[in-house]
């Protein structure tokens, strides 16, 4: 049928494209760039915290760095990377010719660069002194710090969040519709690869909570400019209301940032264990339980706001419960490896590191869920340690593992194994030097979001910063590996991993511009 099997060329290829592989590539590069920008801000944070005293940035600029680091990593790096992986892989995994709504797919992507330029412009203007302060109230932008007390750039931030929300919702609708409507004949729901399952559930979460985020920033906007009193006690509102609405979005959001990684890991571990995934259906049910529970745990971020006792107890118990399905996932991965025939190519190395380090992050999460203990942990570096373990060695490691796993399919070449191994080992060691001691300083009482600290925290902060610099620099290796792999390298077989399963490995490497124009039949 198709008029062209080859990609159109030039810049318009990318701007006007309706091809899921092109759009996937755009998302992945966008995310990579954002990871570097967000990482650069993190480097400023670590440099300032290298020793006590203010040396590099003033406290206001420090807060801007923290805020933008969090926002850019969450909304700019992790989420678009997942959408990029979904774009590339979901149609290929279910035997679909493309995403269900290809033009809307393009729109979802192209909103993002504009949304982030609004945000990053304010940071650049602030750093170079030709504008006021960039958003400086933390990525959680609690009212009233972000309403009555927010800088002028807050309004740009609000509209930028609206745009991100529109993009995410459309992206998620596309994924859901593709999965429900475009599966090849015979690809029943319970035959879908877990990556597809986890993304299906993630997309549901996105559609459910991104509008709530849009709602809360809209309330901020009207509180700032139209005299409403949502977050002001004088008018009968409550600043804590902000936190309820935000975290109703925010907690499902953190699972949005981990479930697709679970899916990636569930593809990689069986492939390199040469053994089918253990407990496929329980993995599906566990993922669904995590998603459902995620709607009733949000106030665990708010234990110190003075919740009523019954509320604290309810949210503590519900939060603890999430460990059960997550544990099932971890156990299933371990059981998949058990008595397999394991080999340790780089995707597998990252997957193993993921399981171990994510579990550490999950266990510290469980500690945070214990309300009385959270009174001591809350807003300290213990929390920072928790969420970097689940986000960096969880979400990001999952993404990196997926990139190594599918690079041969995308580019048609094998990556450079030596460099990739170096990337793995340097990253994995330094990331622990970076984030593990944060547990200690946090327990010892160092609050987060501070540009300067008491002297007893000095030694560990120096170590943390050094780990941070090494980890940051080692990500340049990843950049080199990816570019080299695109440029050339050993020719990749259609199925470069002997244990891999799935439709994506039945098409040539690199995957042709259009795949499965006629749906395959799955037995």
């Amino acid at each position: 049928m198709s008029e062209h099997h080859h990609a159109p060329s030039g810049i318009t290829r990318w701007i006007f494209t309706t091809n899921h592989k092109d759009i996937g590539t755009l998302y992945l590069w966008f995310s990579f760039i954002m990871f570097f920008i967000g990482g650069a801000f993190a480097m400023v944070i670590r440099a300032e915290l290298f020793q006590p005293g203010l040396q590099i940035v003033n406290p206001d600029l420090f807060n801007q760095m923290t805020t933008l680091h969090g926002l850019i990593m969450v909304f700019g790096a992790v989420m678009p990377a997942f959408v990029g992986l979904a774009n590339w892989m979901v149609p290929m995994m279910i035997g679909a010719p493309d995403m269900a709504l290809p033009r809307m797919n393009n729109w979802s992507f192209w909103i993002l660069p504009f949304a982030f330029s609004l945000l990053i412009y304010s940071a650049i203007a602030s750093i170079f002194g030709f504008g006021g302060s960039a958003p400086n109230f933390g990525w959680t932008f609690y009212a009233p710090l972000s309403t009555a007390y927010g800088p002028a750039s807050t309004d740009f931030f609000i509209f930028s969040v609206h745009m991100m929300g529109i993009s995410s919702i459309m992206g998620a609708i596309n994924v859901i519709v593709t999965i429900f409507n475009l599966r090849a004949p015979g690809m029943t729901l319970m035959k879908m690869p877990l990556f597809v399952w986890t993304w299906l559930i993630t997309a549901f979460l996105l559609i459910a909570v991104m509008p709530v985020l849009a709602g809360v920033v809209t309330m901020m906007l009207t509180d700032r400019h139209f005299g409403t009193s949502f977050f002001s006690a004088a008018g009968g509102g409550d600043p804590v209301l902000f936190q309820h609405v935000f975290w109703f979005f925010g907690h499902p959001e953190v699972y949005i940032m981990i479930l697709p990684s679970f899916g990636v890991i569930s593809a990689i571990i069986p492939a390199f264990s040469r053994k089918p995934l253990f407990g496929y259906s329980s993995m599906v049910y566990a993922t669904a339980s995590i998603a459902l529970l995620s709607f009733v745990v949000w106030a665990h971020h708010m234990f110190t706001t003075g919740l009523p006792l019954a509320g604290s107890l309810f949210f503590m118990y519900m939060t603890m419960l999430i460990s059960v399905p997550t544990g099932v996932k971890v156990f299933n991965w371990v059981a998949t490896m058990w008595k397999g025939a394991l080999s340790f190519e780089v995707p597998m190395l990252f997957a193993i590191a993921f399981v171990v380090l994510f579990t550490i992050g999950g266990l510290s999460g469980l500690m945070l869920a214990i309300t009385p203990a959270d009174y001591q942990y809350h807003d300290t570096y213990f929390v920072v340690a928790h969420f970097h373990y689940v986000l960096v060695t969880g979400a990001i490691f999952g993404i990196i593992a997926g990139v190594y796993y599918w690079l041969p399919k995308w580019t048609g070449h094998m990556y450079n194994e030596t460099l990739a191994k170096a990337h793995f080992w340097i990253s994995t060691i330094s990331v622990n030097v970076l984030f593990f001691p944060m547990h200690f300083v946090g327990l010892a009482g160092m609050p987060r979001r501070i540009p300067d600290y008491a002297l007893q925290f000095a030694d560990f902060n120096k170590i943390i910063s050094l780990g941070g610099f090494v980890f940051g620099l080692s990500q340049l290796i990843l950049l080199v590996v990816v570019i080299k792999c695109i440029k050339g390298g050993e020719k990749a077989a259609d199925k470069p991993w002997d244990g891999a399963e799935g439709l994506e490995w039945t098409v040539p490497s690199p995957a042709p511009y259009h795949t499965f124009s006629t749906p395959p039949v799955v037995k």
Partner: protein, 384 residues
């Protein structure tokens, strides 16, 4: 072949557990045990959690490690093909569930114990504002109108932490954890804290008491502590509250009851004297030199955090006062904004925070420093 990651992290985890043992307690790696009954209970819950988590981690990573070690393709291990077992799935759903119950019971107990603020001897209202704490003594034993209250500000000199323009001064022992006037409370008596804020959300935290509660503007959160040991306890604001969030420590001094009573009486005395002095100052004229000298001091202590010592402010966040239309315009407007603040902005009402002579001098200072040179002199009586 390198050591497997699982091995290294099991080792790292064991290390952590060891760290938490008593031998390393002084190294400040673990949660502050604190001095109150509650803070000790919290510590125990924390330690229980840590131990259980470490054991789970060791078991899970241990199994994984064995698999990585023994079931390697390079050693010719052939993959088994089992991939399902409902029994196993049920087992590893149920066991964690019971572990959670073991954790939840003590946690619930502590939480319930913390909730009861009744029958306290002393009630203190704690108000956070950008970036200082205000302590107001509402009632002590039988007394109900104590009329004692003061602000508590960071006392670490600016040149110790500000190294943006070159190396700072040597940092003191309690760098960033010291204040001009600490909160003083009696030992062995139940103290109730009423926590609130004037502007944004802050969070009042003393690790040694196991207390942390957000100060939410417009609402009051209650907390209590019964501290058995005298001494000085230090904490920090624990909720991002703007630029100087890192510079609003909490310092609490716990005194024996008798000592506390003496202190309280002295405070009441001092307060009465200060009120009298303020009234007296209204009748007096101060010279320009006096006003400028006192004004500079007040300005640097109370205003420079936002408007900066050089009067330039932070563009887009805090207006500069040098050449500002208000500081060079009509005096009345200037007095008004300093005394009454500006609602819904970071500019707070200083009328209740500073004495008339301080207000007069800081306004005079602002109208004549940094080349503003309006020549205006504002007297204490003008600011009433």
């Amino acid at each position: 072949m390198q050591f497997s990651p699982a091995f290294r992290f099991t080792a790292a985890l064991l290390g952590t557990v060891a760290y938490c043992g008593n031998a390393f307690a002084e190294m400040r790696l673990d949660m502050t045990k604190g001095v109150t009954d509650i803070s000790n209970q919290i510590y125990d819950v924390h330690f229980l959690m840590l131990t259980i988590c470490a054991v789970i981690a060791i078991i899970v990573f241990g199994v994984m490690f064995i698999s990585i070690f023994k079931h390697r393709k390079s050693q010719g291990h052939k993959a088994a093909q089992f991939h399902e077992s409902t029994t196993v799935e049920i087992i590893w759903t149920i066991i964690p569930f019971f572990i959670l119950i073991v954790m939840a019971i003590p946690a619930t107990k502590v939480l319930v114990a913390m909730d009861d603020t009744s029958e306290s001897a002393l009630t203190v209202k704690v108000t956070g504002s950008q970036w200082k704490w205000h302590y107001e003594y509402l009632s002590y034993e039988e007394q109900n109108d104590l009329n004692v209250g003061f602000f508590s500000l960071l006392s670490t000199p600016r040149d110790q932490y500000d190294e943006l323009e070159g190396p700072g001064a040597t940092k003191g022992e309690h760098y960033l954890l010291e204040v001009d006037k600490p909160l003083v409370i009696p030992a062995n008596q139940k103290v109730r804290f009423l926590i609130t804020a004037d502007d944004v959300i802050h969070s009042w935290w003393v690790p040694d008491f196991g207390l942390k509660r957000d100060a939410v503007p417009g609402f009051i959160n209650e907390l209590w502590a019964n501290v058995p040991k005298t001494g000085t306890y230090r904490g920090q604001c624990a909720e991002l509250c703007g630029k100087d969030h890192g510079f609003m420590p909490v310092v609490v001094e716990v005194k024996e009851q008798a000592e506390f009573k003496t202190w309280l009486a002295a405070q009441q005395q001092a307060k009465a004297e200060a009120d009298a002095a303020a009234t007296a100052s209204l009748g007096k004229d101060m010279s320009m030199e006096e006003l400028m000298a006192e004004g500079e001091q007040v300005y640097n202590a109370r205003c420079a955090a936002c408007h900066q010592a050089n009067g330039l402010g932070l563009p887009g966040v805090f207006p500069g006062l040098k050449d500002s239309p208000i500081a060079k315009g009509p005096v009345a407007a200037h007095i008004n904004i300093v005394v009454n603040g500006k609602a819904g902005s970071a500019m707070q009402a200083f009328g209740g925070q500073l004495t008339p002579s301080e207000l007069a001098s800081v306004i005079t200072y602002e109208r004549n420093a940094w080349g503003n040179s309006t020549g205006d002199v504002v007297q204490p009586r003008d600011v009433q």
